[in-house]
Subunit: 461 residues, 2 copies
C-alpha cells in the first residue's frame, strides 16, 4: 500500500511551483468568485424549515440528506463516563474527489471555488467533486454534479488515492466519505467550468497557509498525499525553510511495513484498553438538552447547538434552501507537537475515543481542544499548556473552517508547535511519536487518523 500515492510521483515537484501558464492568481480567482456569488444566510427557527420535521429526531420529509438524533454515550476515555448529545446521522458515503493532471510535467489540481453557507469565508477552494448520493442523484432537483463521471466506477480510472475516511466523530455518527485523487492522462482535454481552476500544490500550500481558503473536504483529500520516494534530498536543497525541509524528509521516514505493523498493534492495544458504547435515542430523552421550536441546545450553552439556516445563493446546485446546521461554541483548537528525534521530525499523536467513530478510536492531534466541553480546569486535556508555547516554537498557526455544508461558523485554530530537541514532553500512555511517512501510510489504510488531525496534516504539505 505504500506506493498508493508515491508511485505517481510529482507531488513534491508540484508543491515547489507557485505559478504556471495554466493557473490563475489563486488569491484573485477566489476573490473574483466570491464577488460574483450573491448569497444571503439567515438563522431561522428549526420548526420553520420547510420539509424538515422534528419529533424523536429531526429529519427531512424525503428521508434523505441527513437527520439529527439523540445519542447516549458510555466510555471510560476522558473525564465523563456517560452523557447524551445530539448527533448527525448520514449513512450515505459521499465522494470527495480531486482531479489531477500533469500539465507540462507538473501536477495540477482541479479545484472548485465553492460557497458553503456555514463558512466564515463563504467561498473557498473545494475538491473537484464534493457530493453525497443525495446530491448527485439529484434528490432535490438541482444541477448535475460536474466531473462526477471521472470518479465513478469505470475501467480506465487511474486512481492515485482512494480510501474511506472518517468525518467529525463528535458531531457525526459513523460518517465516512470516499476520499479520491484521480489522474487523467496528459493528453486528455478537460473543459474547465467557470467556478473551477487548475492550481499547483504550491499554490494550494499558500492558500492553506492563509487560512479559511481551502475547505475541510479538500483538506482531508490532500492529507492523502505522500512525498515519500520523491527524491526528497534533491528537492530539499531547494527548500530554504528548514522546517519545511524537515517535514519533507519526515515523509520518507518510518513508513516500512514493519513500522505500520507496530503502529497498528499499538492501536489495537489502545482499542482494547478503552471502551465505547453508543445508542441512538430520541431527541426528547437527552437529559441536559433543550429541544424547542428554535433550536436544540445544551441547557448551559455548552458543546454546540442545532439551528436552522435559510440560504439563498446563485452558485450552488439549487438557488434557495433551508437546512439545519450544527454550530459549535467558539474556540476549537487542534494542535500538533513535533520534535526532531534522532534527526527526523516526529509528531506526537494520541489514540482518542470519539462517540461517532466507526471503530472506537483513531489517532488524533496532540491537543484537540473544544472549550465548550470542559466544566473546569481538571477536564482540560493533557498537554494543552503547549498552546502557550513561546512564539519561536510556533511553526504554523491558521484558522480553518470545518465542513460549511453542515457546520455553521465552525472555525478551528490549527497550530503546529516544534519543541526543541532536548525538551522532554511528558505524555500519557495513549500518546505516540510518529513520522509523517507513518501517518500517511495509516491514512492510506483506512480509519486510523481522525479528520481533525488530517486537516492539520494537510497544512503541513
Amino acid at each position: 500500500m505504500s506506493s498508493k500515492v508515491s508511485r505517481s510521483g510529482g507531488f513534491l515537484a508540484s508543491s515547489m511551483v507557485l505559478s504556471t501558464a495554466e493557473t490563475p492568481d489563486a488569491d484573485a480567482f477566489l476573490e473574483k468568485r466570491s464577488a460574483c456569488s450573491s448569497y444571503r444566510v439567515e438563522h431561522v427557527p428549526l420548526t420553520t424549515l420547510p420539509d424538515w420535521h422534528i419529533d424523536d429526531r429531526l429529519q427531512h420529509a424525503s428521508g434523505r440528506f441527513f437527520a439529527v438524533e439523540g445519542l447516549s454515550v458510555r466510555t471510560d476515555f476522558g473525564p465523563n463516563p456517560r452523557w447524551s448529545q445530539p448527533i448527525i446521522v448520514q449513512p450515505e458515503i459521499g465522494i470527495l474527489g480531486i482531479l489531477v493532471k500533469r500539465i507540462n510535467g507538473v501536477h495540477h489540481f482541479l479545484m472548485q471555488a465553492k460557497m458553503e453557507p456555514g463558512n466564515s469565508s463563504l467561498v473557498q477552494y473545494a475538491a473537484t467533486v464534493q457530493a453525497t448520493p443525495s446530491n448527485y442523484q439529484r434528490v432535490h432537483g438541482g444541477r448535475p454534479t460536474p466531473y462526477l463521471e471521472y470518479f465513478q466506477e469505470h475501467a480506465g480510472r487511474r486512481i492515485l488515492f482512494d480510501q474511506l475516511l472518517s468525518e467529525h466523530a463528535s458531531w457525526y455518527l459513523h460518517k465516512r466519505n470516499r476520499n479520491m485523487i484521480v489522474e487523467i492522462p496528459e493528453d486528455e482535454d478537460v473543459a474547465v467550468a467557470d467556478e473551477f481552476a487548475w492550481l499547483t500544490l504550491g499554490q494550494l500550500r499558500n492558500q492553506l497557509a492563509q487560512g479559511n481558503r481551502v475547505n475541510m473536504n479538500a483538506r482531508t483529500v490532500l492529507s492523502g498525499i505522500s512525498y515519500a520516494g520523491e527524491d526528497a534530498p534533491d528537492f530539499s536543497a531547494d527548500i530554504r525553510d528548514p522546517f519545511q525541509r524537515q517535514t519533507v524528509e519526515s515523509h520518507d521516514a518510518g513508513r516500512s511495513d514493519a513500522d505500520v505493523m507496530a503502529a497498528m498493534t499499538w492501536l489495537i492495544d489502545q482499542k482494547a484498553k478503552f471502551s465505547l458504547d453508543v445508542r441512538r435515542i430520541s431527541l426528547r430523552d437527552m437529559g441536559e438538552w433543550v429541544c424547542d421550536e428554535d433550536s436544540i441546545r445544551h441547557r448551559d450553552g455548552r458543546y454546540f447547538q442545532i439551528i436552522g439556516l435559510s440560504v439563498a445563493a446563485t452558485s450552488r446546485e439549487v438557488d434557495t434552501w433551508w437546512q439545519p446546521m450544527l454550530e459549535p461554541t467558539p474556540g476549537n483548537v487542534v494542535a500538533l507537537i513535533c520534535q526532531r528525534r534522532a534527526g527526523v521530525l516526529h509528531f506526537l499523536v494520541q489514540a482518542m475515543v470519539q462517540p461517532g467513530l466507526t471503530d472506537r478510536l483513531e489517532l488524533a492531534a496532540t491537543v484537540q481542544l473544544t472549550p465548550g466541553s470542559y466544566r473546569g480546569p481538571e477536564e482540560v486535556p493533557p498537554l494543552a499548556e503547549y498552546l502557550d508555547a513561546p512564539e519561536s516554537w510556533i511553526r504554523h498557526q491558521t484558522v480553518q473552517s470545518e465542513d460549511g455544508g453542515r457546520f455553521s461558523r465552525a472555525d478551528t485554530t490549527h497550530v503546529v508547535v516544534e519543541v526543541p530537541e532536548g525538551h522532554t514532553v511528558d505524555a500519557p500512555e495513549n500518546y505516540r511519536w510518529m513520522t509523517l511517512g507513518l501517518l500517511n501510510r495509516l491514512i492510506q489504510s483506512g480509519y486510523y487518523v481522525n479528520v481533525e488531525a488530517r486537516s492539520l496534516l494537510a497544512c503541513l504539505l
Copy 2:
C-alpha cells in the same frame, strides 16, 4: 503488510508434518479430554437465569458479558428492505490468540481442548487463549486465563499476526475480536497445562477435515496464516493431492500492492452502492418477534431464537453457570466456488451487507445459506444451485460449529466446489474472483472478509 505472516515462514512446512515427538495423537487427545470432562447442558426458561434480567433488553446484573437487544434494520441489499431482529451486543474486544513455537525447526501450535456448551461436539480444539476482558478480569470469579500474558502488551512480543476481525454480523452488533498469532523463542520453556497440546498445522488440517473438532475461534485465527513466499514450488512436488497443490500456489498469486489496491477500490465501489442503517431498539418493539418468559423467538419460528441454558462443567473457569444462547434454525451452509483461471485457483467471493458489520459490508463466501431466512424460492441467494454440484466437483465438505459460547447447536455445513476450467459461472456484479493470496492480504488488513468465509478459508489450509 504482505510480510505480516510470511516473514516468519515455516507454516507450509508445519502443514506437511503429521506427527512429531512433541505432539500427541490429536484424535486420541481430544477424546481423552472429552471423556474426563463431565458436564450437563439444559435448556431453561430465560426468566429463570440467575442475574439475567429481561426488559427493553436482556442483560446481566453486572452490566458485563453481553446483552441481547432489538435491532431495526434498513438496507437495499437482498430481498428484504427492512426488518427487526434480536442481536447480541458485546462491545468488549476479546483476545483469540495462538502461541506458536518452533520445535526442532517445525512450527507447533499450542491448542486447548475446550468445552463450549453450545457445540454439538462439546470439546474441541480452541486457540491458546480465547477470552473477553470479562473473562480475564475475572468478573465472575473463576480461574485466571492461562498464557494470557504472552498476548498482552509487552516489549518482547514477536507477533506473526494481529488484527481486529469481525464476528457473526447477523447475530452480533459490531462485534470484533483481536486475532493473534504470537511466536515464542525456540529456547523458551512453556509449561503445557493438562488441557493443552502442541499440534502441527498438518494435524490441525486433519482435525479440520473431520469437522466439529476445531472451534470457530481457532478457525478465524488460523485464517490469518499465509503460505506466500514459502517456496511453495519446492513443497508442491511433495503434495500429492493436486487440489491441495493448487491452493498452496494460490497463496502466492494476486497478492501485490496493486492487487490489494484494486480489490479495495472495488470494495469501496460496493459500499457506495448499498445502504445500511441500523438502530438499537427495545426488544418489545420488534414487530414479528415474541418475547416471553421462555425465549425470544420469531412468530413463525424463522431465523433463530434466544434461549436460556444451564451449564455445569468441570473444565471451564467456573463450574456452574447460566446464560442466554442464540440458537439458529438448522441447515446453515457456507460454500465457496473455485476455478482454475489462467492456471491459478481463484475463489468467487461476494460483497455482502450484514446488519452487525462495523463497516456495512465485507467479503463473504459464494453462497451463505441460512434456510430459516427465506420466505420462498425467490429469496434464495444467487448460485445456491451449486450446492447440488456433481460429487466429482466437491473438494471439501464438513460440518463445523459456530462459537459454542454464544450459539447453541449452530452447525454450519462447509463446502468447497471446484468448477471445471471451461465452465462459466454467471454471478451478479457484487461478486469477484480472488486468489487465496489476495484474500489473505485482505484478512490481514482488517474488516474485509467475514467470519463465515474465514472459517471456510481455514479449512483450505
